[in-house]
Every structure is written in structure tokens, then in C-alpha cells.
Amino acid sequence: MNRRTATSVGDVGKYVPALSSALRPRPLTELAAWGGPRLVRGKRVLDLGCGDGRLALGVAPFAKTVDGLDPDRAGIASAKRRARAEGVRNARFAVGAAQSLPYDDGVFDVVILSWTL
């Protein structure tokens, strides 16, 4: 896993803005609780409400593909920048709403609603 992804959240001793993903658990901490990397390994994953891509980029090293969707354009722009910077090639991000998903039927193996519903 990319080192930057592993250390980009949860920095100790700093005040960070309330909406920042740095206030969330590390992606691998959450993934471990849910069942570990095998939950997403080789799977087509949708991170619904992905924000700045915190979780999507965290699970991308294990997944076949990761799609991130969020209504926040700034968040999606940030996720795309992070994906480019971290060299993540199997993640795509788009602006959209959960009530009308821009995907065909049955195209995902795992859908994650992390701090979304």
C-alpha cells in the first residue's frame, strides 16, 4: 500500500477543520473491523458519499476497481487529485447523488456507506 495513503489521516496533535476526513478513522482500521481486506479483495467496490476519497483510496490497493461518488464537487476534485498524486489507477470518481446512481444494474460486489447514511 502506498505510504502516503496510510499516513494521510489521523495525524496526532493538530487541530483540523471539522469537515476534514482527517477526523475519521484510518481506512484500514475501518476495513479491518468490517472483515479485513478479503471483504474487497478483487472486488468491484462503490464508495458512496466518498468525499475526498479517504476510504476509496484506502481500499483501492485491494480492490479490482473502486468508484467513488459524492454530490460535493470540491470533494470529488480533491479525490481525483489525490488519486493522481498517489498513482492509484483503479479508482474513478464522479459527482452524483445516491438517490439516482449513474451505474448499470448489478455492477458492484461491495457498496460502502461510510459516514454517509
Binding site: 496533535g13 475501518e30 445516491a98 438517490q99 446512481l101 448489478g106 458492484f108 460502502i112 456507506l113 461510510s114
Partner: protein
């Protein structure tokens, strides 16, 4: 919320997995002071009423789609997560800004003790619940 879960059901493959994870407002959060490698509890922090109502609505939405037979629960649990701050003032500022929590902690240590340690690192420790569900064919 139920509409979104119907959409999730649509885009999931047969026996696909849905993970729902979010802060657990049914449990108090804690304001803690870090001392060396350990944390001491200095107070408790309630979730704002509006957020508690939103969380209950989310719970009901999940229960609804389970009752509809679209998903079946596989497992659930909870993790505890610390949000770190470099001082008591930073923690207070966070509570003031953050809509999820009430704006003031309920302190369980006296004011002189808080003042004495005001420049120490603090944290808010809160519960995050998760539920893993499996898509059921309609």
C-alpha cells in the same frame, strides 16, 4: 434514505455486500487528556439532538430494507476512534464548530485541574458502529 438503499440494491450484484458505517450516537463520546501513552477521561460529550434524530432515521431506513427482504444482516459491531487535539482550547474550538456534537463537554474533573492541564494534548473518543449486510435477490 430508503430510496438510496433501493438504488444500492439495484447496482449490487447478487449476494453483493453493503457496509453501513457511521458514528454511534447511542453512546456518549469522551473528552480525554493524553498523559504519556495513556488517556484520562475528563468529560463526556453528547451528540446534538438533530444528529441523534438523523441517526435514528438512518437506523429505520436500514430496518426498512431488511424488512422488505432486500438485504439480510450478516454482522455488526463497533470501533472506538480518537480525534486528537493539541490543547484543551483546540478541543473546545472543535466542539464549537462541529455540528454533530453539543457545543460544550460535560466535565467530570474540576476547573482548576482542567486549567492546570489546558496545554496538554486532548482527544475526543467516540464510537463508530458498522453493519455488514448481504443483498438478497427480490
Amino acid at each position: 434514505m430508503v430510496d438510496a438503499l433501493h438504488e444500492v440494491h439495484r447496482v449490487l450484484a447478487p449476494r453483493g455486500i453493503l457496509v453501513d458505517a457511521r458514528p454511534d450516537s447511542r453512546l456518549l463520546a469522551y473528552a480525554e487528556r493524553r498523559s504519556g501513552g495513556t488517556y484520562q477521561r475528563y468529560g463526556v460529550v453528547n451528540t446534538a439532538r438533530l444528529e441523534q434524530a438523523n441517526d435514528r432515521a438512518s437506523d429505520r431506513a436500514i430496518e426498512h430494507v431488511v424488512r422488505e427482504g432486500l438485504f439480510k444482516p450478516k454482522r455488526h459491531g463497533r470501533i472506538w476512534h480518537r480525534v486528537p487535539f493539541d490543547s484543551l482550547a483546540a478541543l473546545r474550538l472543535y466542539l464549537w464548530d462541529h455540528l454533530r456534537f453539543v457545543r460544550r463537554a460535560r466535565w467530570t474533573v474540576d476547573a482548576p485541574t482542567r486549567r492546570r492541564h489546558a496545554n496538554d494534548p486532548f482527544a475526543i473518543r467516540r464510537a463508530v458502529r458498522y453493519e455488514v449486510l448481504e443483498r438478497v435477490a427480490p
